[in-house]
Amino acid sequence: MNGVHDMGGMDGFGRIEPERDEPVFHAPWEGRVMAMMRAMGCVGGWNLDMFRNARESQPPSFYLTASYYKSWEKTLETLLLERGLVMEEEIVASRSFSGSTVAGQPLRAEDVSKALKRQSYERSTSAAALFKVGDGVRTRNIHLPTHTRLPRYARGRRGTIERVHGCHVFPDSSAVGAGDDPQWLYTVVFDGSELWGTDDDPSLKVSVEAFEPYLEAL
């Protein structure tokens, strides 16, 4: 979707403000939100792409003004409510009105390390890769109303295949419950001038990780 989360190249957000000696969490509740998201990710029945889809579907004014973990907390509520795992009234009352509707067991202490390790998103395929390193490509000018990972600034642009990563879970499908739908994944590199015009820094190159359906041969 063409949301405010897709902010590459936008103006007006001001200076970057690094914080000296930044703590991992700025308040205990932030850690609880992060941990609940990790733990529920194992039993909630959603995947990473559904999580991202839910977060970027938040109203733009909320997305842009809420702190990161406030946005995560709202996303977690949305994912739970959508699946009927929790009711709004239960959160307000701070108690459960009924038992769990999930068959699985909660995340156990002995599985924490495994749960925190990033899983593999590579999948096998019988399809041959359409592109090889060095090929010229153009990104498609696609404007899906649902989740996608081709940023607006990199649509309809000429670039070069720099790396071939194998076949990976396709977020556009995975986010809407259409399965893994594995697709070849590439690093596509663009000249800065192709993205931003010739007035900008000539020494800049930018790459995106692009799935094959985002690309066409030049």
Binding site: D6, M7, G8, G9, D11, F13, R15, I16, P18, E19, E22, V24, A27, W29, G31, R32, M34, A35, M36, A39, M40, G44, L48, L64, Y68, E73, E77, L80, I91, A93, S94, R95, S96, S100, P106, L107, A109, V112, S113, K117, R118, S120, Y121, L150, Y153, R163, H165, V169, P171, L185, W196, D201, S203, L204, K205, V206, S207, V208, E209, A210
Partner: protein
């Protein structure tokens, strides 16, 4: 937020969906174990050991997993090497993708609109705000983490570190130098 989050945790606990002791372990892992010191050890090892560096640039997931003290890490880690002619930077313009296994949770600025919006267009301006000024002829390469690949910048080893051991080298490797918004610290010059 504290009350709302506590309420949500209570509901999930009563439904048997979470174990609060497990949440404690997750928070503790991010606060104590999973942080940029892990990445710094990897960079220092690459500076010292050409074979490891080659392996890291070839397949970073496999190379890092072979280092027992950093431990197993997730798939699709890619190390990108800074050169005298090339400076790498990492961003996720769409959300907050970050090499968490090696660097821990990302800092607030990395997830913020100013960084995500600007670095793919005006990388030099961003670098200047971090106090980094590179020669105009140096190529700047920004890696937008739009899939499940994760990028670790391998910065250049600072001059004056001949004879340093792995711990001394790792102490010079900052988090920002592995994101590309900073450079490693310079060794302190003796009196």
């Amino acid at each position: 937020m504290t009350l709302r989050v506590r309420a949500l945790e209570t509901v999930l606990l009563e439904k048997g969906l979470i174990d609060p002791a497990v949440l404690d372990l997750i928070v503790e892992a991010y606060e104590t174990r999973i942080g940029p010191r892990n990445g710094a050890k990897v960079v220092a090892r690459a500076w010292l050991d050409p074979d490891f560096k080659r392996a890291l640039l070839e397949d970073a997931t496999a190379a890092v997993s072979s280092l027992g003290h950093v431990g197993e890490i997730g798939d699709h880690l890619i190390a990108v090497e800074n050169l005298p002619t090339l400076h790498n930077m990492v961003v996720c313009t769409l959300c907050s993708c970050y090499p968490t296994d090696l660097l821990g949770l990302p800092p607030v600025w990395y997830k913020s609109a100013p960084y995500r919006s600007r670095v793919v267009r005006n990388a030099r301006g961003v670098l200047a705000e971090f106090g980094v000024n590179l020669p105009p002829e140096m190529e700047i390469r920004v890696w937008d983490s739009t899939a499940e690949t994760r990028f670790l910048v391998l910065p250049m080893r600072p001059a004056g570190t001949e004879g340093f051991d792995v711990d001394a080298l790792a102490s010079l490797v900052t988090r920002d130098s592995m994101i590309g918004t900073g450079l490693p610290k310079l060794p302190e010059v003796g009196p």
